[in-house]
Symmetry: C2
Subunit: 409 residues, 2 copies
């Protein structure tokens, strides 16, 4: 048996972990500045909970645990489901709006293939209790500010924004029973290409040209709503736009977010060249809480995928250089001085990161190791030096050595 | 269907998450001071990987995923297995010793019952490549320093330390084929009680009194090794003790760590009154890497359970008070001033955490909300004030109000 990781998963070695942490901390900092609080949910939920949101089909798309008793349990495929469950469990006692964020992983069952991870990480927010445009604008601002804090600018990314009421209102010539299928088609229209999209619309018996013309509108002033639903959607969209930095945002009527549960604002963030998949996606889901058995309350949120974001940062040369070496490597010349060396290490650890020999190596091998871990300084603990209450410090950048008294360390 | 979380799991609401984070950061800070690097592994591994360490029985004790193709996958039950797999995948290229830490969760299948979580978090380290006592002493020091940094003292906790070679050497009158079973019995001797322990030893046909007398020795000077294995173990133990702060450490020959793979130093940390389960457990496992198909190399590590640690902190009144409110709550008096209010919020967010009305509430309801989230100050954005380029700031502690010019915010 070869010892290997499960296909479609990723090991986070120190350098991978450090990059992820760098991004996590930027997001955490922004989210907290907006008054969001971090939460975490269990990795798994009862299947009934998932099916409430996503129907029985979800069984095929996620990892399900082998039944040992009667419990049917599956691994979470997003955080919206567990967050909504958590919210409902305290719905009555929490002051609204409730503003939560998460930085964590989830799982989807896919056949192992290149580039499609079965375990993946997302940063995200859920905002419960407000149906206002200000709430949508706030979460979109958090996504934008996060990307900006990573060094990305309006030259690198943009937000496609739309409104499901507007879209469904403009397309109200489409029979209701076909609307969900059309939303799904619109959502994948870029992936399948213009021709296939047109063919699929025709297959549904629809006027493909008419649909496509509507979707191409990029100018809010050119949108002419002809019914209540479209009017309401247009107003909602205009209100959200009022509070957003225009530099980053573009109306895109073809941004549908396939999922059935979106009810108003929907948005996606892409790299400017649209080289990668969407970095971020979200929107308003005002019916989910009620559908889950809570009292009817509005909600809005997004999820931002770590993998695509890391690709974009790499593409823009914005992946951080992670400082990895300790400030000091302590090299005792022999076992006799080890306890003294340890004392010095402990003292320096009050302020600095410090490694000490754990291999009983000779000095020359210790130097090699200190070099390999990019230590900044070596402190050599020798018997003669100690007799004079001093140690030798070598700066590994300049190669210079100096004697330092113990009480001056 | 009632919407509930899976039995034996825990939701981390903001206050729970904040306490966890407080502990995580203390540990992270200590581990990094010792030059350890944080890593993370996938939540699941192929069953073959788990069985390598724990045998076929493990299938019963963990969550196994439903097979969809040929892959047999299970949720990790500890981090030693995935870390060892990760280490082996880069064994040749890494400089030794390799020092990794983790702060993450794992899962064990248990019938739902009070107090036994099926999803739980551990802080831990693995140190690969050194067979020296200095390495064991370093990881034990990290555990001790972590607990100290949380405010715990030698009055609150202590480390029970032992050595498997010493223990097996002293018990070498026990037939080899019974040794593993005896180690398991010793490990649970406190749980099952003295009488049951004695009976179980007798059932194995052993001289129970003799075994129990050996296990009771608490003074290293009274240990008389009569064979090579015991001598070696005693020397190893003495060497580890040399580098540890005596205040925290106590020899305990009945600390066996049941698992078959421990080879030298073993230790557990308990609260002084032994009110709770072990907070931390670990030791040396010099055969696991080879057993997993790597080149033979020594390793040592520990896992520290978050749940028990939190219980102890609570018991000692050391659970931190988490500051939760934002520095400013911004209260626009009406929609007309909202954009200006948002500008002020954005500016203040460069330094502070700031919430702003997202519910189009009147002032009185905004004040109630600001109070409920423990905001420190309210900034009231009114039309008349704005005309004079100022805002009103109310300190929610003192109740005092003052006017402040916009350019002085």
């Amino acid at each position: 048996m070869k010892l290997e990781k499960v296909k479609g998963t990723k090991d986070f070695f120190p350098e991978d972990f450090a990059i992820q942490q760098y991004i996590f901390l930027k997001f955490k900092n922004i989210a907290e500045k907006y008054g969001f609080k971090q939460v975490e949910a269990p990795a798994f939920e009862y299947m009934d909970v998932f099916r409430k949101k996503a129907g029985q089909e979800i069984d095929e798309q996620i990892f399900v645990l082998k039944k040992k008793g009667k419990e049917e349990i599956g691994l979470r495929f997003d955080l919206t489901v567990p967050m909504t469950r958590m919210y409902i469990s305290r719905q009555k006692s929490l002051s609204k709006p409730v503003k939560w964020f998460y930085m964590t992983r989830m799982w989807r069952y896919e056949q192992p293939q290149q580039g499609r991870l079965r375990e993946f990480y997302q940063l995200g927010v859920e905002l419960f209790g407000s149906d206002k445009a200000e709430a949508d604008a706030e979460i979109i601002s958090i996504a934008i500010e996060t990307l900006k804090s990573l060094g990305l600018t309006e030259k690198d990314f943009f937000v496609k924004i739309n409104n499901r009421n507007l879209l469904e209102g403009l397309l109200d010539f489409i029979p209701k029973n076909k609307m969900q299928e059309v939303m799904r088609l619109i959502d994948k229209s870029e992936k399948i290409g213009k021709k296939n999209f047109e063919l699929s619309l025709k297959d549904l018996g629809l006027d493909a040209k008419k649909v496509m013309k509507i979707l191409e509108t990029k100018d809010i002033k050119k949108i002419k709503p002809e019914n209540e639903k479209a009017k309401q959607g247009l107003e909602e969209l205009a209100n959200v736009l009022k509070y957003l930095d225009k530099k980053y945002v573009q109306i895109d009527l073809s941004t549908a977010r396939g999922l059935a549960y979106y009810t108003g604002t929907v948005f996606e963030i892409f790299d400017k060249k649209q080289k990668f998949r969407a970095i971020c996606g979200g929107g308003r889901y005002d019916n989910l809480i009620e559908n889950f058995g809570g009292s009817k309350e509005p909600a809005t949120g997004f999820g931002l995928g770590l993998a695509t974001l890391e690709l974009l940062l790499e593409d823009k040369n914005l992946t951080p250089k992670i400082e990895k070496g300790p400030e000091y490597y302590i090299a005792p010349v022999n076992e006799k001085v080890y306890r003294k060396a340890l004392e010095i290490a402990d003292k320096l650890r009050e302020k600095y990161s410090v490694e000490i020999d754990l291999m009983s190596r000779n000095l020359s091998n210790q130097f090699k190791y200190a070099d390999s871990i990019s230590a900044k300084n070596i402190i050599i603990i020798g018997e003669k030096d100690l007799a004079k209450n001093e140690v030798t410090i070598r700066d590994l950048k300049t190669g210079k050595e100096k004697k330092v008294k113990l009480n001056q360390l």
